[in-house]
């Protein structure tokens, strides 16, 4: 019995080519644009916290968002969603290399403290 997964269908690379009538010189996945659009207001907010004003032309924010999106997408693939990559980066980005192994963190113990046990259903 030959059995195979359906994964390849879901692995098709879907990219945004540009608006009708105009083809962008680069083709990026739709999700990349989504992350970029989330990052721009994030950087604008951070900028506002420092300067207390919004820049009408957020050039730095756009540039930083592009770079960040590009970096994130280096690690993203169909099996590794952007959410997981961002979460790992947020927890571990500061620590790399062998020194990181020494910086072991204690995790909360998993305790079955509030588990009620009934032998059988009524």
């Amino acid at each position: 019995m030959r059995l195979r997964t359906d994964d390849d269908i879901y692995r098709a690379r879907l990219v945004y080519l540009g608006p009708p009538g105009y083809t962008l010189p680069f083709q990026l996945p739709y999700a990349q644009y989504g992350v970029f659009l989330l990052l721009v207001p994030l950087y604008m907010g951070i900028h506002y916290l420092f300067t207390f004003r919004f820049d009408p032309v957020p050039a730095w924010e756009i540039a930083l968002s592009m770079v960040t999106t590009s970096v994130i997408w280096r690690y993203v693939d169909p099996d590794r969603p952007a959410r997981t990559v961002i979460r790992t980066a947020l927890t571990d980005w500061r620590r790399t290399g062998n020194a990181a192994l020494a910086q072991e963190q204690r995790l909360p113990r998993l305790v079955a403290g509030k588990v009620t046990i009934r032998e059988r259903l009524p």
Binding site: M1, R4, D8, I9, T23, T96, Q105, P108, I117
Partner: protein
């Protein structure tokens, strides 16, 4: 704090053997199983009179069994005994007296002094200080000095009710999936099973499943206890040799060192969201779920019972105790269960234990860490766990080419855990999902067209595949359209980080090479490890595998490869798709299954038949079974020189025996009236048996006479006629002899008959032929030796492929000698009590083929085996010999060794195993005991395909290396003198390599003098000699 509602009754944990010591690394300290096996009440205390009776410990009250352990947590403390919380009865500081028959003196793991006092086993543990805990108020006097400030995370699980588990939001029903036999089944059967399972999965469409596979350490101590109970009269201990207790301890040590683990598969179905009212009621006051809530789900749960209980998975509801075990194993991934809980086989888990056992486990992570470190803060045990996730999968052909992909990991020699979270999508959801994806692909193609660009060809290919799938979904059966979208994880553990990562690499490589499944080792290991715990959330949505339910069903994590019984001797392990210990009690077919005791061994020369025969003979002898081994070539005679067997064994060398030893009339015993029931029916039955015995004697005598005559003469028709007349003229009683036949022939007056008589007389003048003539010496086999090895040292066996005319005179005599020697070996078993255990091992049985008496012998052996409790092991080089005798229906156990030379012979061996032919299993027989061509070492193991009395077939690797020096004595391979094997390269007869052993051993009052003077002095192999290569573990 964990709360239980067990109705006030003392409830067993239900799977006592689940909780014993386990570690996949050899234990550092003495394992719990080193505890002496306990004597059993009701067993006969009598011991053989020829040796000092084995002193057994008087039966202790059952309560005393737990005298040294009253809490499951005592032994979790590695150091000195914990101070008892309630010293109820101070116990004097004295170690428990070990029974003298039991393993010699293994220091008790429980500290000697002061012995821990008994505390009621069910006593709840004091509330553990815990941040945010809401347990009962702690009294001021009990307040701990230091608070435990370690962070604590409560499990998402809030309640276990029967087989249901509740979290704040979800209800899950859990089922136990029993193991299914996979190996050596016809592909059609396996496909039918996969289809049945996929239909069951399809019946669960719309729900999220949690498939968990955990392991249970093999209960070596339970097995040893069972073996001890089934051995009422083991061989008496001999000074200076391993005792029966040592024997059991050695086997248990070996079992523990190989880390055998048995799998347990659980399936959870998350089927309902809890209502806001129920959640709030539980949060504010009510303990657990309400009765109304549980009743609401009862009907749906019954449907699950119906779906899962049918052919395929045959699932059953789990018990709360099993769920507690699963929770513990999931929190403490890969860690050893509490050691002493099952060492005494008593249910010891009680109220609050789940909390106590889970809260000891501390977890550590490192940034970008490849493993999660778990530490048991009470025992100090440390495990590193790496969680792998199933990545890309290439198409699989299951069962034709590939093994089930979630069973495949069991071929590695360390246990792993599996957790799969699966969303089962019904036909509607699957089609919508697929259609959405197809629209996106088509839209992308359109975009390319609008922009005047060439679309990547993969888009069209994927669109076409989606269309085909969509067509299958809309027009096919529901089982074809149902999809399983899931995340599949494997947890690999090791005692150190390096060991864990090394194991991880092996798992990844094995899966990549043999299944073409890419296992990934992602970051975020701590969250992934937490995902194994029932009720905990999914760690990551990455690595989602979308597949038809048939592919999920073909994962078969519950596949197993068990073979043998669990009450016999340890003979090795399975070596197919998983590693399980193999036990074999050759009397199990007769005593329990009520089947024949005929076991057949088939292999090419060098396949290990004789060594296996000798090993089984040794193991049975240790258990006090009367063993008779017929080994024409003689190497097994060295077994009698083993120190533990020497006082109770003897060698009978037929080539040096007295006249009449093989007198054919006396070889077939006359049935005794007392062995039949009283009354006319018994009388009639006995009469028939006596007549049959006479007929068999006549048949045997006629065959033997034909063998003794020159082949040209015996082939003539008149010879058979005259012989028949002569045999009929002589009373077919035990007291008759071949001399009577000669007398009868010579008295016939017919010249040809007289000539026949002369020819037989001529034959009788040969020294070896004297064995057939005359009456047997009295008491030749009437001894009490436990092990008797009958040899024909120096006899040259003929090659059956050569015509008889070309045989030498000696070779011609060998044929009747072998026939009668087989009878002689079995004849000894008819001398003792009818129900006592007996074992006969017959090598070179292929000489029986082609003679009427040969087939009647095997048929009689198989039929009598049940009545006489006689295990008969028959070894042959060719399965055709057994199939030709048409006794395969009477065979209960089959061992087939390497057969690589002839495909037809392999096919016949498969028929003997009752395995489908032309299904590719012939290649399995050819691959047994395969030698590494690059190696110059001798192969350290032998493999067989074994079929047990219950019809289970499995590839096994024989491993008796745990018996000290057994392999040295069983080494039948000739080697260069002085190389240490102790075998003579010329004839295979042992050569003295050292002075005879001097250890004093009790002597048999029985006629030990029966050992013929011509028997070669087989010296014991010195203990310091390097072990010979034989059936070692080969690992």
């Amino acid at each position: 704090m964990t709360q239980t509602n067990r109705g006030g009754e003392t409830l067993g944990f239900g799977f006592d053997d689940d909780l014993e010591y386990y570690d996949d690394a050899p234990p550092a300290g003495p394992p719990a199983v080193l505890r002496a096996p306990t004597p059993v009440a009701g067993l006969p205390q009598a011991r053989p009179s020829f040796a000092p009776p084995r002193a057994r410990t008087p039966e202790r009250p059952s309560t005393l069994r737990s005298a040294d352990v009253d809490s499951p947590f005592f032994d979790l403390f590695g150091g000195p005994a914990p101070t008892p919380r309630q010293p109820a009865q101070p116990v004097p500081a004295q170690p428990r007296q070990p029974p003298s028959n039991l393993p010699a003196v293994v220091p008790a793991r429980v500290p000697v002094a002061p012995a821990p006092a008994r505390v009621p086993a069910r006593e709840p543990l004091p509330a553990q200080p815990r941040r945010g805990g809401k347990g009962a108020p702690v009294r001021a006097g009990d307040r701990p000095i230091h608070r435990d400030r370690d962070p604590v995370a409560e499990l998402a699980l809030t309640e276990i009710a029967g087989h249901l588990t509740f979290t704040r939001v979800m209800v899950t029903a859990w089922y136990w999936l029993p193991e299914v036999r996979w190996a050596f089944r016809p592909d059609l059967d396996r496909e039918a099973m996969i289809v049945a399972m996929s239909e069951q999965y399809a019946g669960l469409a719309g729900f999220r499943l949690h498939l968990r596979r955990t392991t249970r350490p093999f209960a070596a101590d339970d097995w040893a206890r069972t073996l001890d109970q089934n051995t009422p009269q083991p061989l008496p201990d001999v000074a200076g040799a391993p005792s029966w207790g040592d024997h059991l301890v050695g086997a248990q040590r070996h079992l523990l060192s190989l880390s055998h683990a048995e799998g347990q598969t659980y399936l959870g179905i998350s089927f309902a969201r809890r209502t806001l009212g129920d959640t709030l009621a539980e949060r504010f006051g009510r303990k657990g779920s309400g009765g109304a809530e549980r009743k609401r789900w009862a009907r749906m749960v019954e449907q699950f019972d119906e779906v899962l209980g049918s052919f395929g998975m045959r699932g059953r509801r789990v018990t709360p105790a099993e769920l507690e075990w699963l929770l513990y194993r999931s929190v403490a991934l890969g860690m050893s269960p509490p050691r002493l809980v099952s060492a005494l086989g008593l249910p010891q888990w009680g109220k609050g234990d789940l909390l106590a056992l889970t809260e000891q486990v501390e977890r550590f992570r490192s940034p970008y860490g490849a493993t999660t470190r778990l530490v048991n803060r009470l025992t100090g045990e440390e495990r590193h766990v790496a969680v792998l996730t199933v990545g890309r999968m290439e198409p699989l052909e299951i069962p034709q080419r590939h093994e089930p992909w979630l069973h495949f990991h069991e071929r590695l020699p360390f246990p792993m855990e599996i957790s799969s979270r699966v969303d089962v999508l019904g036909p509607g959801d699957s089609f919508r999902n697929l259609e959405h994806r197809l629209r996106m692909i088509r839209s992308q193609q359109l975009d390319y067209a609008e922009h005047g660009m060439d679309a990547p060809p993969e888009l069209e290919r994927l669109a076409q595949r989606a269309l085909v799938l969509g067509d299958e979904m809309t027009t096919g059966l529901p089982v074809d359209s149902t999809r399983a979208h899931g995340w599949h994880r494997l947890a690999v553990s090791g005692t150190t980080r390096e060991e864990c990562l090394e194991r991880t690499r092996r798992v990844i490589q094995t899966y990549q090479r043999d299944l073409r499944i890419s296992l990934q080792h992602p970051k975020g290991q701590d969250a992934l490890a937490r995902e194994f715990v029932p009720g905990e959330p999914l760690a990551s949505t990455g690595y989602l595998r979308r597949m038809p339910v048939k592919l999920l069903a073909a994962a078969v994590p519950q596949a197993a490869s068990t073979v043998g019984d669990r009450r016999g001797d340890l003979i090795g392990r399975t070596s197919g798709t998983s590693r399980r210990p193999v036990f074999l009690d050759l009397h199990f077919p007769m005593e329990v299954r009520e089947r024949s005791g005929l076991a057949v061994f088939v292999a090419e020369p060098g396949g290990g038949k004789s060594t296996l025969l000798g090993a089984l003979g040794y193991l049975a002898s240790r258990r006090g079974v009367q063993v008779t081994l017929l080994d024409p070539s003689g190497p097994l005679a060295r077994l009698t020189q083993m120190p533990e067997l020497r006082p109770f064994s003897r060698v009978l060398n037929l080539t040096g025996s007295e006249q009449g030893t093989l007198a054919p009339y006396a070889l077939i015993p006359t049935p005794q009236r007392e062995h039949y029931v009283d009354g006319p029916a018994g009388e009639q039955e006995w009469g028939i048996a006596v007549s049959n015995a006479r007929a068999e004697r006549r048949m045997l005598v006629q065959d033997i006479c034909s063998m003794l005559l020159p082949p040209q003469v015996s082939r003539e028709a008149s010879t058979a006629t005259f012989l028949r007349h002569a045999v009929r003229g002589v009373p077919a009683e035990e007291t008759s002899t071949l001399d009577d036949i000669i007398t009868h022939l010579q008295a016939a007056g017919d010249a040809p008959a007289v000539e026949l008589g002369h020819l037989l007389l001529d034959t009788a003048e040969m020294p070896l032929a004297m064995l057939f003539f005359g009456s047997p010496p009295p008491g030749i086999l009437a001894d009490q030796a436990v092990l008797t090895v009958i040899t024909m040292a120096g006899l040259r066996l003929p090659d059956l492929k050569i015509e008889r005319e070309y045989w030498s005179a000696e070779e011609q005599l060998a044929l009747p000698m072998l026939h009668t020697a087989h009878r002689l070996a079995v004849r000894r078993s008819y001398g003792g009590p009818i129900s006592s255990r007996k074992l006969v091992g017959l090598d070179e049985a292929h000489f029986m083929e082609g003679w009427r008496s040969g087939r009647s012998f095997l048929v009689r052996l198989a039929r009598d085996s049940r009545k006489w409790n006689l295990a008969a092991l028959v070894a042959s080089q060719n399965p055709r010999d057994i199939l030709g005798l048409d006794v395969q229906n009477l065979v209960s156990t089959v061992f087939v060794g390497r057969i690589a030379e002839d495909a037809e012979v392999a096919a016949e061996a498969l028929r003997l195993l009752r395995v489908p032919v032309d299904d590719g299993y012939e290649a399995v027989l050819a691959s047994l005991s395969q030698v590494d061509a690059a190696s110059h070492e001798r192969l350290g193991f032998r493999e067989f395909v074994m079929r047990d009395v219950d019809g289970r077939v499995q590839k096994v690797r024989i491993d008796v290396s745990w018996v000290p020096d057994l392999l040295s004595y069983l080494d039948t391979t000739p080697s260069v003198p002085g190389s240490g094997s102790g075998a003579d390269p010329a004839g295979g007869h042992p050569t003295p390599v050292s002075s005879p052993p001097t250890s004093a051993a009790p002597a048999l009052p029985s006629p030990t003098s029966a050992r013929p003077a011509s028997a070669p002095p087989y010296p014991a192999r010195p203990a310091s000699a390097p072990p010979a290569r034989g059936f070692g573990s080969g690992d």
